[in-house]
């Protein structure tokens, strides 16, 4: 279980970082979303992985650390709000600047191409 968990966290992080380094705003937003998924999984695992463990006392034989679960909840909420914001901002920038590049301009301007 640990190996699969670690592998998927690593894969999500790698994909997230790769996408957030792209030039267009949509892949960047998707990349940030993947990165925040990876972060959530990672935070969850910081309390060690436990099978069939409850976070509340007196309900099961084995227990799991409740703090990372609370942290993950907070991180999910914040990450969700931030993703919504950056999505709206990306659409606004597409409308204001006329293209969806994160710099607001394409690397080769059409005029320069002609020259």
């Amino acid at each position: 279980m640990e190996a699969i968990f670690a592998f998927s966290t690593g894969l999500l992080t790698a994909a997230g970082i790769f996408l957030s380094l792209r030039g267009r705003s949509f892949p960047v937003v998707v990349g940030i979303t993947l990165l925040s998924y990876a972060v959530n999984l990672f935070l969850f695992s910081s309390g060690r992985l436990t099978l069939n463990g409850a976070a509340v006392l007196g309900t099961s034989e084995t227990y799991t650390d409740p703090v990372p679960q609370a942290l993950v909840l907070t991180a999910i909420v914040i990450g969700f709000a931030m993703t919504a914001f950056v999505l709206i901002l990306a659409m606004r920038s597409r409308a204001d600047l006329g293209n969806d590049h994160v710099d607001g301009r394409l690397s080769i301007e059409p005029e320069e191409k002609k020259k």
Partner: protein, 504 residues
């Protein structure tokens, strides 16, 4: 009663007022919003003064949220540094607000609520004693700052906001990775508890904690614009509207404060094998930040860009003091931090006021119409420039002198002095060029524009007057900052106080 809840008030009070401003009787009337926000900011200054007064009696005030005792609950800590930072943020807020009430608040929706939410986030980041709570307050201040940055609209702001938001989102992800690593190894997020437990690590866990501590440096370095992570700053700050840019002057200081707090308390000189974790990184980076800020200042095409680059210089100076990491250097840095925040805020406001009177070229250094109020604005610029460049008789001189004294040991001086002095020279040259081209290279009389609004001028002058005041009261302020930095470095009593309270 109020004193008991004082540590929480600088966070909760602006949040409540900000929420009230969104409700019907207030949300439709800009006049009422202005008045209430100004009253709120005066109240915050009173709270800040009160906190500083309590802190200067050498007592650390603790506040447990929900009465959950540390290390389990979240706690707020008011010591000398955090009290000073809260007072600083409220003074800067008043200056920026006075400027905004003259008309900049009309250009977009919800200016005042966002402003108050940002202040709540900033104060929370200064006061919290819990690392995850610090992350939460970072997000509060960031999401308010995203919206404030695009306040007023326009292509440039959208473009700058895009970079700023994406960079900070990636920064937040790194922050959470660091928190996950540190919680997984140390088993706690209470800063005092972390500092106590860092001695009991296994050897194989030390590498992980080290990675976590350095990841935190990356995050705080991004907030404070440390060298390879500073590229967002000049464009963001110079494209924001004036009162927002003035408020942003304290945002980089939140990063510097976090570095001082976290990397002194947890990874400081007493952290055993992980002692002084970031010093080897901070040394070259802060020196290069200073150098690059100086080059940027010389190359700036306009006054707002110049002010942004001067902020990078001040961040370099502050982090240089953090790299020296002696109580004396930190005391100098705290004095310099207060000075540079207030004056940089004033310079952003001033740049906007000057730009408005020069017509189309704005604050760019080209020939334009004469400024209508050369004495008032020119005088203000003169004080701001002398103060930022570190010339006597203003506060920048005192701050830099203290820092030079703190680094007078030969092995330090050979690195610190040349970079610090040459960057000051670069600042003088850049500011001189700015002044001469803004006020003297005029093409034709000014007839069309209005004189600056009295509230705008009062905002600028309020912040500028702090500079001579900081010189007049330099004795008591430096005494306070010296005691504050001793308190910061003398971590054992703090840890014992926090953890013993929890045991009771």
């Amino acid at each position: 009663m109020i004193q008991q809840h004082l540590p929480l008030l600088p966070v909760v009070f602006p949040l409540i007022v900000g929420a009230l401003l969104l409700l019907p009787p207030l949300t439709n009337s800009l006049i009422k919003q202005r008045n209430l926000t100004l009253v709120a900011s005066l109240t915050l200054i009173v709270l800040g003064v009160w906190m500083v007064q309590l802190a200067s009696q050498d007592s650390i005030q603790l506040y447990y949220l929900g009465d959950w005792k540390p290390p389990f609950g979240i706690l707020f800590v008011v010591d000398r540094i955090s009290a000073l930072m809260v007072l600083l943020s409220s003074i800067l807020m008043l200056g920026a607000l006075l400027y905004a009430t003259a008309g900049d608040d009309r250009t977009g929706m919800f200016f005042y609520p966002l402003f108050l939410f940002q202040i709540a986030g900033i104060n929370g980041a200064f006061l919290t004693g819990d690392l995850f709570n610090l992350f939460v307050f970072f997000e509060v201040l960031l999401i308010a700052s995203y919206s404030l940055l695009i306040h007023g609209g326009g292509k440039q702001r959208t473009q700058a906001a895009m970079h700023y938001v994406i960079l900070n989102l990636v920064g937040s992800a790194f922050f959470l990775f660091a928190l996950g690593i540190l919680y997984g190894t140390l088993g706690t997020l209470n800063m005092a508890d972390m500092a106590a437990r860092i001695h009991h690590l296994h050897l194989d866990e030390q590498a992980l904690v080290k990675a976590g501590g350095l990841l935190l440096l990356v995050v705080f370095g991004l907030k404070s614009a440390l060298l390879p992570l500073h590229f967002w700053l000049p464009r963001t700050y110079s494209s924001a509207s004036a009162p927002v840019a003035a408020l942003f002057a304290i945002m980089t200081k939140v990063g510097v404060y976090s570095i001082l707090r976290v990397h002194t308390l947890i990874f400081g000189p007493e952290a055993g094998d992980l002692a002084n974790l970031i010093q080897p990184w901070l040394w070259p980076m802060s020196l290069l930040t200073l150098t690059l800020g100086a080059i940027g200042a010389l190359a700036s095409p306009g006054l707002k860009m110049l002010a942004s680059n001067l902020i990078i210089i001040s961040v370099g100076t502050l982090l240089l003091a953090a790299a020296i990491a002696t109580p004396q250097a930190i005391a100098a840095a705290l004095y310099y931090l207060v000075h540079s925040t207030l004056i940089a805020g004033a310079l952003f406001l001033l740049a906007d006021a000057i730009g408005e009177q020069r017509g189309k070229p704005g604050d760019r250094f080209v020939a334009a119409r004469q400024v209508q109020q050369p004495v008032l604005l020119g005088g203000a610029f003169f004080i701001a420039a002398l103060s930022l460049a570190g010339m006597p008789p203003f506060s920048g001189f005192v701050g830099k002198l203290m820092l030079l004294q703190a680094s007078s040991a030969p092995h330090l001086a050979s690195w610190v002095w040349p970079v610090l002095l040459i960057s000051s020279l670069a600042a003088i040259i850049a500011l001189t060029r700015a002044g001469t081209s803004l006020f003297w290279r005029s093409s034709g009389k000014n007839s069309a524009t209005q004189p600056a609004h009295i509230l705008k001028l009062s905002g600028v002058w309020l912040l500028l007057l702090c500079s001579p005041l900081m010189v007049i009261f330099a004795g008591s302020i430096t005494e306070y900052t010296h005691l504050a930095s001793e308190q910061l470095f003398n971590i054992q009593p703090t840890i014992e106080l926090i953890l013993q309270q929890g045991a009771n």
